[in-house]
Point group: C2
Chain length 585, copies 2
Amino acid sequence: MYRSHNCGELNASHINTEVTLAGWVQKSRDKGFMIWVDLRDRYGITQLIFDEERTPKAIIQEAKLLGREFVIQVKGNVIERSSKNPNIPTGEIEILVSELTILNKALLPPFTIEDKTDGGEELRMKYRYLDIRRNPVKNSLIFRHNVAQAVRNYLSKEGFIEVETPYLIKSTPEGARDFVVPSRMNAGQFYALPQSPQTFKQLLMVGGMDKYFQIVKCFRDEDLRADRQPEFTQIDCEMAFVEQEDILNAFEGLTRHLLKEINGIEVEKFPRMLYDDAMRLYGNDKPDIRFGMEFGELNSVTQHKDFGVFNSAELVVGIAVPGGNVYTRKEIDQLIDWVKRPQVGALGMVYCRCNEDGTYKSSVDKFYDQDDFAKWAEITGAKPGDLICVLSGETYKVRPQLSALRMELATRLGLRKPNEFAPLWVIDFPLLEWDEDTKRYHAMHHPFTSPKPGQLELLATNPGDVKANAYDLVLNGNEIGGGSIRIHDKKTQSLMFDYLGFTEEEAKAQFGFLMDAFQYGAPPHGGLAFGLDRLVAILAGQEIIRDFIAFPKNNSGRDIMIDAPAFIDQNQLKELHIKLEGLDK
Amino acid sequence: MYRSHNCGELNASHINTEVTLAGWVQKSRDKGFMIWVDLRDRYGITQLIFDEERTPKAIIQEAKLLGREFVIQVKGNVIERSSKNPNIPTGEIEILVSELTILNKALLPPFTIEDKTDGGEELRMKYRYLDIRRNPVKNSLIFRHNVAQAVRNYLSKEGFIEVETPYLIKSTPEGARDFVVPSRMNAGQFYALPQSPQTFKQLLMVGGMDKYFQIVKCFRDEDLRADRQPEFTQIDCEMAFVEQEDILNAFEGLTRHLLKEINGIEVEKFPRMLYDDAMRLYGNDKPDIRFGMEFGELNSVTQHKDFGVFNSAELVVGIAVPGGNVYTRKEIDQLIDWVKRPQVGALGMVYCRCNEDGTYKSSVDKFYDQDDFAKWAEITGAKPGDLICVLSGETYKVRPQLSALRMELATRLGLRKPNEFAPLWVIDFPLLEWDEDTKRYHAMHHPFTSPKPGQLELLATNPGDVKANAYDLVLNGNEIGGGSIRIHDKKTQSLMFDYLGFTEEEAKAQFGFLMDAFQYGAPPHGGLAFGLDRLVAILAGQEIIRDFIAFPKNNSGRDIMIDAPAFIDQNQLKELHIKLEGLDK
């Protein structure tokens, strides 16, 4: 063993102990007659001291040559520090070094290994092994481990069994693109990497394994948006002989346990909100309910005057910004510019100042009177001193626009507090959603989701109205999990595939095994999957997933540290019965 | 919730309770006026009773239609059984059914869902979801979960952090073949699936995460031997600032914990054996030491007479078979045939009977006298009543041959007791092994393994003699884990790549990131990986890995349940910039 103690554990009680430490040189200060070195490892920092009077000359000489990030081993005596540092656990002591061994030298790192580093994103990714030495990254990885352990121990105690499902499975065109893997032994054929273990966990239910979970990597070959990874981790769960209520309770229990165990926070029973209400009140299926600013629909109180913009709008909707009346005209103009950015896409914004004296001042004063504005204020819940922001247009466009504005303003107003946790179930999602590109309905969740009882008939006449036994778990405005009660009989499943545009042959080729399984005694079942990367980030009061992944990929799906993907040699291609083509650009 | 209790928990204390159960019809017995149904779920079996006197007629009618594996829900009263079954926990009670709901019908399963099934391997794989309903499979999966949980909790308690490393990495031709994944976004380039997280765990050490583990899927595109899977699970571990001794102690601790926690067995300190001794005494680098039958090398006592076969052999070596003198001539001839099978490949076998009266009778009586045989007996440890089996030839061939015979005889003699556990460290493996095909040395473990101190110089002159800081953990004749102390400086690593035939460019292209990392302060480190599939099987007293994998693949790497791999459509290929070729056979 290269050390008797780690760099985080020595304190006054160890004074006069001979110890051996090993770690990295964080920094050194050379006063000529005296050298201090901060020695760092995973557990902390311990100060080493070399001085002319007490340290052999040869060791002093060597200590003078130590550079940042050198790996060293020292033996020495724990002594009391003259100037103590109360900010670190080892701040009362230092090590008077009697032996020094350089285990490995180090080049000067390309960025500083400090909590606040001078390294840019790209550089830190390329040298991720150095980035991991920094406390923020190291602690994020340890935090992730603690969350995963808490999940596993809780679910195990609740009788769930973690079952590993295969990674080399079959490609199914439904949903996002699959990553595929050519099979050498089955020439011309391909495995696919799972987008989720969905069908396997359903088969485990058919197999009687009635409480399943798995923390598992999943893969999606999507054009990456910011903070999306081609490989990501799910806490995948499924239960048999349950109804929606049972699933919600089971995973509310898990989430409550995590908030308690990890964050030390007790949360009451999670509120539930219908999908339709979430859209109406927040313009969003994952509302952040840590703050109010609920939408007020203003059609009835705006469409009786001559303001054509509102009169022709499908939806006129506003929010009250608390204290927003202090905004200057310039600040309000900037807000208007903000909603007109292409990322948001509003055509404009109407506002109404709610003065402290109970009067109103609006950008549409010439169309509406004080009584009108009083109604706006009533509907949006605006109080004197607030600002009402109103957008209008097609419902499906204007809701996300106002939602974006609501989130932006809440962030600016400090209403999205990182240490406050507001979980929420959003339930009764639509079964289908309309896709403009393909001009047909797609499964909103996935094709295995069951419609609400009695709604199957609606499929033929009002497909967009059919509600599903589908639910999302939302935490602080982020979807951290989602799931559904599944179809468990062959007839309904066939009908669903048919409705989603699968031919009978396609359905059989891709999901025949599942429909076969449903014929041999499938129990009612359902489940939920959490996105672990996001869950961990949010529990840590953060939102950037990448910081909680040891070796993330960049937005082109590249690992720039190992430089992957990469070209492979011709022999490998030949063995796999493939060749490259279409690379002539 | 579809049930108030599960099918394994009701007993006499519940008599007169109204309960709701759900599960599968295991079987039913219809006596006309009375019907018994065994209802099964993951937790057990509970007997249901329907009788003419107490059950409504409509329910009886429905109960008569229940087939095997129907999924049903029943409500009823827990009553005392008239004829109790002491073999199952619920054997004292039965449920007098008052309500019956058929949740799902079932076709007759293609094999019986019993502990001993009539289904063949292939059929059971195709309907794996039905196979999982059987106790042996279900219990194996639960056992696996318990082992994995025990591993995670033990290592976490010991300060190890589970870090997820990426699955989409870079192909490296060293070692077995990689599975590769074409990248759509990086045209013409490929990811590879990891054969192990080796380089990533080393980078975590460079990153200061000094105790790492991960239970992780690994992938090898090998021609599958029986009981090899293209995807398999490792318990992957690494530590920094450690020497070999520290690693052995750390993972001996884990293994001892598992034997105690899972098997209830206390094992003393694990013995250690040099690789050279393992080969000499057992002909094998993973000896089963639950029994003796150690090899006796007989060159000195056989090569002084006129028996040319022995005189010309590099090695003459024998084992004493306890009580083997009872074998008839015919049985011995069958043994000789057994060692001559191509799977073993011996050219013949000499034997010597050790009679109870102290005399010897051998197949080579005409070359050797009783004094010679007495020496054979002394060296092999044979006692009166034993049989000495002797093989001869080239050392590298004859050792595995005799090892195979030793294992076969031990199995026949019942010496390989499934409930006895004999762990063993085999240490000081050679660094390199000669490969006849390529006529050069390959890394025996992998190219990151460090040679023993001071042996680096031997590389140039006697490469085959260089010993590595490499070790295997053996349990009952199976390698359950293996690892090494790694090289942690760029110079040695370059030298090793050079020696293994990498050009400088190749080394840089494939492992440049690792050698770069070594320049920025790499600590001494080493680790070990357990094969979880095998470990679980052995802890369960079994050897067939497949039984402990939920959805295994067959020997052609196919999942015959979902029928993967499969052909994918032209558009997918086109998006990936590849086309098929060489499929004209």
